[in-house]
Symmetry: C2
Subunit: 174 residues, 2 copies
């Protein structure tokens, strides 16, 4: 069975080494906090205004935009060499676990990446080399989460089958 | 509803700030790679030799001991200020997602912590202050994973109910 990271590489077209090239230098020190805040603000403004793909926007309907922005840039800062802002406030990133409520399909990953690419294109704070590294990281991570989502659904389908068979052999109690 | 980190704090008795006091200094630079390798080797030797609690040892039956050791110390090194060894090899830690196959109950968390405390007590490489910080981190993380496990089971039970009702209203096809 393919591992999560093998699936992420196969589906994203980004190999493991390119995905984690963000770790070759300290991007937080290079770019500074405000660049990350600006990027996440631009990204989520696009997401919450996404009128072309209503299904995508609706995935975020239960979260406040300001919270989504803060969660994202704090994670980026922490993962890219800055202070552990995310963990101080919320604990482990636990990316797959915390994305469990969302249907992270291939289509959702592509839409997320489209908005991020547009936000990145507009960023004047981030140099070209860092943009390439970050987009590789984002692309690989998006499909890592698609792989996590599929694993969860597989487990669930297997469990449903077991549970339903079990239910079917018990006398009705309603 | 309590968040993952609120449950982790309540059940572990370790608040968020103490759990992430590992970030106040760079423990990897202070302790060095070999201390982490020694700790994980001692820990998993205890786990794989656990004859008192066979149910606990059996959770690890599908993994090779050497792999378990490497996965653990690479994650610790990466999380405590060292090079991102874990991500270079396996991608995101995704702690909840990667623990999905294991029944991470309160009892399992306590047994894990007991072995880790014993391994820590035997460590001559790690100073007392670092031991306290690391055990707080481990204790909080163990119950964070119990919370993640419960969330998964809750989701699954809800989905089972929906799936079985759905199955019951369809004509039998066997």
């Amino acid at each position: 069975m393919q591992s999560l990271q093998e699936k992420a590489s196969a589906w994203s077209g980004v190999d493991q080494a390119d995905a984690f090239a963000i770790d070759e230098s300290n991007l937080f020190e290079k770019l500074g906090l405000q660049s990350f805040i600006n990027l996440s603000t631009n990204f989520y403004t696009r997401v919450y205004d996404d009128e072309e793909e209503e299904w995508f926007r609706s995935m975020f309907a239960n979260s406040k935009k300001e919270d989504a922005i803060q969660n994202q840039y704090e994670f980026f800062v922490q993962r890219m060499g800055g202070p552990p802002l995310y963990s101080q406030r919320k604990g482990h990133p636990a990316l797959i676990g915390r994305h469990r409520p969302f249907p992270v399909t291939h289509e959702a990953a592509e839409r997320w990446l489209q908005h991020m690419q547009n936000a990145m294109d507009e960023s004047v704070d981030i140099d070209q080399d860092s943009k390439v590294k970050m987009m590789n990281f984002f692309r690989h991570t998006a499909f890592f989460l698609v792989a996590g989502n599929e694993l969860q659904n597989q487990n669930q389908n297997q469990n449903n089958q077991v549970a339903c068979k079990h239910a079917a052999t018990k006398p009705a109690q309603e």
